[in-house]
């Protein structure tokens, strides 16, 4: 029996249950309180699944696109759990878990092609590239979730019927600061990822810039994020426009990661 697959399915089921639980009404003994625990249990199963896969394959499980996506989902849940314990934002369940589920489902349907590794001399750089990109994107998951929450709450407040639509959203200020903090983690990691990616590309194609769609998308997403960081840190921008820009940038990143372009 393929233990890693069984554990991955257990993880998927726990994430799914955690997501469903977050929609239940609150209360002391409410099912909703289990949401973070279910997700945590799923994450443990996911961790063991990745280790089992690594042992079964005899290598680091980062060589195929499904493996990379599964690791991405794993790190996104890790970052999400950390962010949840830090800020206690229940809205994160509702926004991050579906993304994780989508990524995991897509990863299950992709062909198992091994990503060509440039040179046998560069595996360390390759793994570093993937690791920073994965954690960068995971942090960006939180940025995205906070930005979506900001835009939703902003719309609800403007439409003058805030509480009825979104009873559990945090305040605008909290969404904004969560977005800022997670972006300041995500952006340097993404920058490192882009630089190492360019070096890898150079060693593979003998050019830094091959005008491939996935490269273009990645750099576009990075550029938008750069603008957001400069707008936030340099010009002191905040609020709705920044949140919308972040959502666009995350869309590009997601397209790039899922390979749909």
């Amino acid at each position: 029996m393929d233990w890693s697959l069984v554990l991955l399915r257990i993880a998927l089921a726990s994430y799914g249950l955690g997501f469903v639980a977050s929609f239940f009404p609150g209360g002391r003994f409410a099912f909703r309180r289990l949401a973070p625990w279910l997700t945590g249990a799923g994450w443990v199963a996911h961790t063991v699944s990745l280790i089992a896969l690594g042992i079964a394959l005899g290598r680091c499980p980062l060589a195929t696109l499904p493996e990379v996506l599964s690791t991405l989902a794993w790190s996104a849940v890790a970052v999400y759990l950390a962010a949840f314990w830090r800020w206690r934002l229940e809205v994160l369940h509702v926004l991050v878990l579906p993304l994780v589920l989508v990524v995991l489902f897509v990863s299950g349907r992709l062909p198992e092609d091994v990503i060509p590794v440039a040179e046998p001399l560069r595996p360390t750089l390759w793994r570093f590239h993937l690791t920073v990109i994965i954690f960068g994107v995971a942090a960006l998951f939180i940025t995205f979730a906070a930005s979506v929450a900001y835009v939703l709450l902003d719309r609800a407040l403007k439409s003058k019927s805030p509480r009825r639509f979104l009873p559990r959203l945090p305040s605008l200020e909290i969404c904004d600061s969560v977005g800022q903090v997670s972006l300041l983690w995500a952006f340097p990691l993404m920058t490192l990822g882009i630089i190492t990616g360019a070096i890898l590309s150079a060693s593979l194609n003998h050019t830094f810039w091959a005008w491939q769609p996935q490269e273009t998308l990645a750099v576009l997403a990075w550029a938008i994020l750069g603008v957001v960081v400069v707008a936030r840190r340099g010009w002191g921008w905040r609020g709705r426009k920044v949140a919308l820009l972040t959502i666009v940038a995350f869309g590009c990143v997601l397209l790039r990661m899922l390979g749909v372009y």
Partner: protein
């Protein structure tokens, strides 16, 4: 059984309620006086701006006159007025009423949070005055627990249902907390003062006041512990403020859309919240369309309040169901408390008869060895216990059913027990036959 006598916002107008209300420092002595009245076994006084209620343990038949007499002596009000405005709940109804009151289902603003604190206070004061016994103590402890349960398990207290609370709730949606927010009050009227006091009560520390008359601004600012700013610097000050409360008496709008746009640019996207409580309005409605600027006028706030009230009505149904369940549990316990003395009396009566008959026949049996004597005594005991079993069971069942008092009375009559049926506390049983009943949630131990 408990009895509740008093008036609330639904049964009496403000003018009557304020005459009947007790000041908090007077309550301990008043409740002690109430407890000392003949027939009153336990007492508690709950007095808020919306209700004054006496909860006592006494016979229902005497309750109305006794308690009306007490209130008429204590407060400047006549018994006729009390008769017109007061209600009396006893037994099941009283338990449900106390639970509903603590859970804020009987409040003017259903779901408001203050009443639970007031109930806790009344319970503490009565406890300090020594006027609580086992029934009221258990009743109020249970009521406080049920109220917490209702708050936790329903959304009854979640959404604010007054305009001031609605504005605070909206500001919280925007800013989270209020410690670092600055409030700018434009206009120095009564409404502005009330709104500002409300926000200060929720933690706002920095208050600025702008008014066409600087002197009035200064007075209000000093009252609120804030700072007055010149009216012509209004827009510069707005760049620093987070919440702007507008309530000038100007006949036209004071803050236009262009102003808000400039403001939004200057604030670089930091949100600003305008609360326009002026009539006619001070802020142009177009201001709400500007990015990161939120505007609510009185109509908008009223709409939020109405939406919240609709939401609460649905929660009330859930809350009532919780109260019904909890009241049943409590009533079952309190009934078991009532049959306990009868069970004790019955046991004592039959054991007394056995002891008496043993003594009487002792002479006729001649000399017995101690083993024989023990055997006879054991036989008598065993006989008594066997005879006791069915009526004890019937009494315990009587505790769980409505109309069980009749069965209790019948058993007392059949076995020739003395006439008093109810006693608030089970008497201590020397031979330890029956442990006193336990409050709901713990299981009673029994022997026999």
């Amino acid at each position: 059984m408990p009895v509740v006598y008093g008036m609330n916002h639904a049964s009496a107008p403000q003018t009557v309620r304020e005459r009947v209300a007790f000041a908090e420092p007077d309550i301990p002595e008043a409740v002690a006086r109430l407890r000392r009245i003949a027939g009153v076994e336990e007492a508690l006084i709950l007095s808020t701006c919306n209700r004054t209620e006496l909860t006592v343990c006494m016979k229902r038949e005497q309750a109305s006159t006794t308690l009306a007499g007490f209130l008429a002596r204590e407060r400047p009000i006549t018994e006729e007025e009390l008769e017109r405005h007061c209600y009396l709940y006893s037994d099941d109804q009283a338990v449900r009423h106390v639970f509903r009151t603590a859970a804020s289902l009987d409040s003017m603003v259903v779901g408001e949070a203050q009443i639970l604190g007031q109930v806790k206070r009344a319970y503490a004061l009565a406890g300090r005055a020594g006027s609580l016994g086992s029934v009221l103590d258990a009743l109020y402890r249970r009521a406080i627990m049920v109220a917490r349960k209702v708050r936790n398990e329903t959304g009854i207290g979640r959404n604010p249902v007054s305009i001031a609370y609605a504005a605070v709730g909206l500001a919280r949606d925007i800013f989270g907390g209020f410690e670092d927010t600055t409030v700018l009050i434009v206009g120095a009227g009564k409404m502005a003062r009330l709104a500002a006091q409300h926000l200060i009560g929720h933690g706002v520390r920095t208050v600025l006041v702008a008014n066409r008359s600087f002197q009035r601004a200064d007075e209000l600012a000093r009252d609120l512990g804030g700072r007055a700013v010149p009216f012509d610097r209004l827009f510069q000050e707005m760049e620093r403020a987070d919440i702007v409360i507008a309530s000038t008496s100007a006949p036209h709008t004071v803050i236009q859309r262009d102003d808000a746009q400039r403001l939004s640019r200057a604030r670089r996207g930091r949100p600003i919240f305008f609360v326009d409580i002026a009539m006619p309005r001070d802020v142009d409605p177009g201001v709400n369309e500007v990015d990161n600027v939120y505007l609510y006028d009185l109509d908008d706030l009223q709409r939020v309040v109405r939406a919240n009230q609709d939401g609460r009505r649905e929660e009330v149904v859930t809350a009532e169901a919780i109260i019904e369940r909890e009241a049943d549990v409590f009533l079952a316990w309190i009934r078991s408390l009532q049959v306990a003395p009868t069970i004790v009396d019955l046991r004592r009566r039959l054991h007394d008869i056995a002891a008496h008959e043993l003594a009487r026949f002792h002479g006729r049996l001649g000399t017995l060895t101690s083993a024989q004597e023990d055997a006879v005594r054991q036989m008598a005991e065993s006989l008594v216990n066997k005879l006791l079993h069915p009526p004890t069971l019937a009494l315990k069942q009587a505790a769980a059913v409505d109309g069980g008092e009749l069965r209790v009375r019948l058993i007392r009559e059949i076995f020739g027990l003395e006439s008093s049926v109810t006693a608030p506390l089970p008497a201590d049983d020397e031979d330890g036959a029956d442990a006193p009943p336990q409050p709901p949630g713990t299981s009673g131990k029994e022997r026999g």
